[in-house]
C-alpha cells in the first residue's frame, strides 16, 4: 500500500494473507469456509496452485505473528474464464478458496459483505488494504504490517484513457474491461502495489463494508496519472454464490 497507514487491529478483520510458494498476496474472508482473492494469486504457470502450497493467515495485522497459524485450502476455484498465460489478460481475475475447517468469527476475523449490483459511483471513497509493497522515504519496501489507504473510485473512461496512454509507450499493458474498475488519485502517491493482489477494496454502505473490488493489476504504483485496477466483484456475485453452494 502506497501512501497509506498501518491498520490498527480489528479494523480490517476480513483481510487475509495468502502465501503461495513464498509469494505474497492478499485475500478476504467472505464466509466461514471461503476466502476470495485474485485468480492470479493462486494460479502458477497457468494452473491452480496445489492446495497444500496455499497457506492462509488471518486475524492479525503483523505478518510475523500471522505466520504462526496458517489455515489450508481444501480446494481452489478459479473463475472459469480467467486466462492469463502472458500476464496481460486480467479479465475475470477472481478465485475462491475453500477452507478445510470453518472459521469462528471474532473481532479480528470477520467476513466482508458481498456487494449489491451497480454500486460503483465515481468518487466514492473505498479502502484498499494489504501486506504488499509500501514506500518509506521514497524507497519501496515490503512491509510486515497491514496497511490501508482510502482511494476513490475513478470514472471508467478516465481510467481507460490512462491505460491507453501507457499502452502507447509500453508493450504488454493489460486491457481494461468492464469486469474491472479503477481507484486512485490523479496526483499519485496513494495506491495498492505488488503483494496486495487479491486484497479487498471495500466500500462502506451505511457503516457496513462490502467487497467492491479485488486488487488486480496496475501500471507502476502510486505514480501520478496512474490508477490501480480492481476486479469488479459485483459482476461475479452470481458465480460466487453458485460456487459456494456447489461446494
Amino acid at each position: 500500500i502506497i501512501g497509506g497507514n498501518i491498520a490498527p487491529e480489528n479494523t480490517i478483520p476480513w483481510q487475509v494473507l495468502v502465501s503461495v510458494n513464498g509469494g505474497r498476496g492478499g485475500g478476504m474472508v467472505i464466509a466461514d469456509r471461503w476466502i476470495m482473492t485474485a485468480a492470479h494469486v493462486v494460479v502458477q504457470e497457468g494452473n491452480s496452485a496445489s492446495n497444500d502450497t496455499i497457506r492462509i493467515y488471518m486475524g492479525l495485522t503483523d505478518v510475523r505473528t500471522l505466520t504462526m497459524s496458517p489455515v489450508y485450502a481444501a480446494s481452489v476455484h478459479i473463475h472459469p474464464e480467467y486466462n492469463n498465460p502472458r500476464f496481460i489478460e486480467y479479465n475475470n481475475d477472481i478465485a475462491l478458496i475453500r477452507l478445510h475447517d470453518p472459521i469462528t468469527f471474532r473481532a479480528s476475523v470477520m467476513p466482508i459483505c458481498l456487494p449489491a449490483q451497480d454500486t460503483y459511483v465515481t468518487g466514492m471513497m473505498g479502502v484498499v488494504s494489504g501486506f504488499g509493497i509500501t514506500e518509506i522515504d521514497k524507497r519501496r519496501i515490503l512491509t510486515n504490517k497491514l496497511k490501508y489507504v482510502h482511494l476513490p473510485v475513478v470514472d471508467q473512461e478516465t481510467c481507460s484513457k490512462s491505460v491507453d496512454l501507457y499502452k502507447q509507450g509500453r508493450s504488454n499493458v493489460p486491457n481494461l474491461t468492464n469486469n474491472m474498475f479503477c481507484a486512485g488519485v490523479p496526483e499519485g502517491g496513494k495506491d495498492s502495489c505488488q503483494g496486495d493482489s487479491g486484497s479487498p477494496y471495500a466500500l462502506s454502505d451505511n457503516g457496513q463494508f462490502r467487497a467492491a473490488g479485488i486488487v488486480s493489476w496496475g501500471v507502476d504504483c502510486g505514480k501520478q496519472g496512474t490508477y490501480g485496477v480492481y476486479t469488479k466483484v459485483a459482476n461475479y456475485v452470481d458465480w460466487i454464490e453458485k460456487t459456494m453452494q456447489e461446494n
Binding site: E9, N10, A31, F105, R106, A107, M110, H150, G207
Partner: protein, 437 residues
C-alpha cells in the same frame, strides 16, 4: 326298548317230534329245554298232537315241566277218546324256562301211525309289578312300572329313589346350583319332613361374582335351650363359606340377608329323627365382586369416575397436558386396568410425571439462556442468542421458545425452533479513524 343280544334265548320258536309229520319211531327219549330272556315267561301252543293215546299216557307221552314241576303229561289226539290232550289251551311257564320230554315205548299200533306233535312257543312279558309280595315286601315301595322283560321303581314327588333302586327317601332338592340366582328350600318345606334328613346344597357361581342368601321369614329349625343360650344341638343348617368360620343356624328367627362375599357356599341341613323343624327357604342372588376405590392420580384423571367398581369394570388413566404416564420407571403410552374376579385391580395405578423437552439443541456460534422453568420441563422457556456482534440470528430477533406438551421446543407461533446464527459481515469492531483534515 333295548336290543337283545345276538346270541342267547330266542323270543319264539317251534318244537316238533322227531320225523314230524312222519310217524315217530319207537323207544324214544327226547328232551327240549326251552328258554326265553329273563323277565319273560314261555307260552307253549300246540298246533297238532297225535301221540298214541293211553290212559295216563303210559305208552307214549309228552311231558311238560316247569322248574321240575310237571305242568302236564299229554298224549292222544283231538279226536281220541283216550289220552290227555291239551286242546287249544296254551301252556304258560312261571319262569323263562320250560322243559319238554317226549317218550315212546317199543311198539306202535299197527292200524294207525301216530305222527307226534308240533308246537309253537313265544316269550310273554311278565308283569313283575303284579307279582305277589314275598317276604321282603313289595318290589317297589312307592311306584312300580312294568317294562318288557323287567320293571322299574319310581317315587312320588318330593322323594327320590334310593341306591337299592327299590325304596324311596324324602328328596333334599340338593345338589349344585350354578345359576346366577335361584330358590332353595328344605325337604317338605314349609312342613316338617317325616323323618331325619341330611341334605347338602352347593351354590357355585362364576368367579368374580358373590352370593347373597336371603332367607324367607318363615324359618324354623329346632333349637335347644342350654345354659349358654339356644343351641343348634340336634337340628341345624350349617353355612360354609371358604376362608370363614362355619355358621350354624337354628331357631325361629330368620337370618334374613346373608352376604357371603364368596362365589361358593355350602349349605348342610341336618335333623335327627326326633324333634320338629319345619325347615327354611331362601332366595340366592349374585353380585359382581367389588374392587376397592382406585384412588386419584396427581396431575391425572381416572375415567370413568364411579362411586363403586365391580368385576369386569375397566378404568383408564390420562395425564394432564404436559404430563406423561409412568409406572416403575417406564413410560406408558396408555393405561387401563380391570377389576378382576378376586376383587383386585389387575394393575395398580400409574403416576403422572411432568414431561421434559430435553436439552435444547445447541446453537452454533450462539447459546441458550433459560428464562423460566426447571430442568427443561413442560412450560420452561428458553431464549436463543447468537454471539454478537459477530453473529446474528436469522431474522434478526431473539428467539424464545417454550417446552410444549408434545415435548418440542416451540416458538410463540407454534413452530419448532431451530435457529441459525448468521455471520455479521463488514462491520468491524474498530474503525479506521481519520480525524485530520
Amino acid at each position: 326298548c333295548w336290543t337283545l343280544p345276538d346270541s342267547g334265548p330266542l323270543m319264539h320258536g317251534e318244537v316238533q317230534s322227531p320225523g314230524y309229520p312222519q310217524p315217530y319211531p319207537p323207544n324214544l327219549q327226547e328232551q327240549w329245554d326251552l328258554s326265553v330272556p329273563e323277565g319273560y315267561r314261555i307260552r307253549l301252543t300246540f298246533t297238532h298232537m297225535d301221540i298214541e293215546a293211553s290212559a295216563g299216557c303210559v305208552y307214549d307221552s309228552l311231558t311238560v315241566l316247569n322248574n321240575g314241576k310237571v305242568l302236564g303229561k299229554f298224549c292222544g289226539s283231538d279226536n281220541s277218546a283216550d289220552g290227555h290232550h291239551p286242546g287249544n289251551h296254551p301252556i304258560l311257564s312261571s319262569g323263562n324256562r320250560l322243559t319238554l320230554i317226549f317218550q315212546t315205548d317199543n311198539n306202535n299200533p299197527e292200524r294207525h301211525q301216530n305222527v307226534g306233535f308240533s308246537a309253537h312257543y313265544q316269550a310273554i312279558d311278565i308283569d313283575e309289578c303284579s307279582a305277589p309280595e314275598d317276604a321282603s315286601g313289595p318290589l317297589c315301595t312307592q311306584i312300580c312300572l312294568n317294562t318288557l322283560g323287567s320293571y322299574i321303581c319310581s317315587c312320588r314327588h318330593g322323594y327320590e329313589l334310593r341306591s337299592d333302586q327299590r325304596s324311596c327317601v324324602l328328596s333334599c332338592g340338593g345338589g349344585i346350583f350354578d345359576e346366577p340366582e335361584g330358590f332353595l328350600f328344605s325337604p317338605g318345606y314349609p312342613n316338617a319332613p317325616p323323618y331325619a334328613v341330611s341334605c347338602q346344597y352347593f351354590i357355585s357361581v362364576e368367579p368374580g361374582f358373590t352370593v347373597s342368601l336371603n332367607f324367607s321369614d318363615n324359618f324354623h329349625i329346632e333349637s335347644v335351650d342350654t345354659q349358654q343360650g339356644p343351641s343348634c344341638l340336634h337340628h341345624w343348617l350349617q353355612v360354609s363359606i371358604p376362608d370363614r368360620d362355619h355358621i350354624k343356624l337354628c331357631g325361629a328367627k330368620s337370618p334374613g340377608l346373608l352376604v357371603t362375599n364368596s362365589n361358593t357356599v355350602k349349605l348342610e341341613y341336618y335333623t335327627d329323627d326326633q324333634g320338629l323343624s319345619n325347615g327354611w327357604s331362601l332366595d340366592y342372588t349374585t353380585q359382581r365382586m367389588q374392587c376397592p376405590f382406585p384412588g386419584n392420580v396427581a396431575k391425572g384423571r381416572v375415567t370413568p369416575m364411579l362411586t363403586e367398581y365391580f368385576y369386569r369394570d375397566y378404568i383408564h388413566v390420562r395425564c394432564a397436558q404436559g404430563y406423561k404416564l409412568m409406572m416403575d420407571g417406564q413410560e406408558l403410552e396408555s393405561f387401563s386396568t380391570m377389576c378382576q374376579s378376586n376383587g383386585q385391580w389387575h394393575l395398580r395405578l400409574p403416576e403422572c410425571h411432568i414431561i421434559d423437552c430435553g436439552e435444547p439443541e445447541p446453537l452454533l456460534n450462539g447459546g441458550v439462556t433459560f428464562l423460566s422453568g426447571f430442568q427443561n420441563q413442560y412450560r420452561s422457556v428458553i431464549q436463543y442468542h447468537c454471539n454478537e456482534p459477530f453473529y446474528s440470528l436469522l431474522g434478526g430477533m431473539n428467539v424464545s421458545s417454550t417446552c410444549e406438551s408434545d415435548r418440542k421446543w416451540r416458538s410463540n407461533h407454534g413452530d419448532v425452533v431451530s435457529p441459525t446464527c448468521l455471520p455479521v459481515c463488514g462491520r468491524p469492531t474498530q474503525h479506521l479513524s481519520a480525524y485530520q483534515r
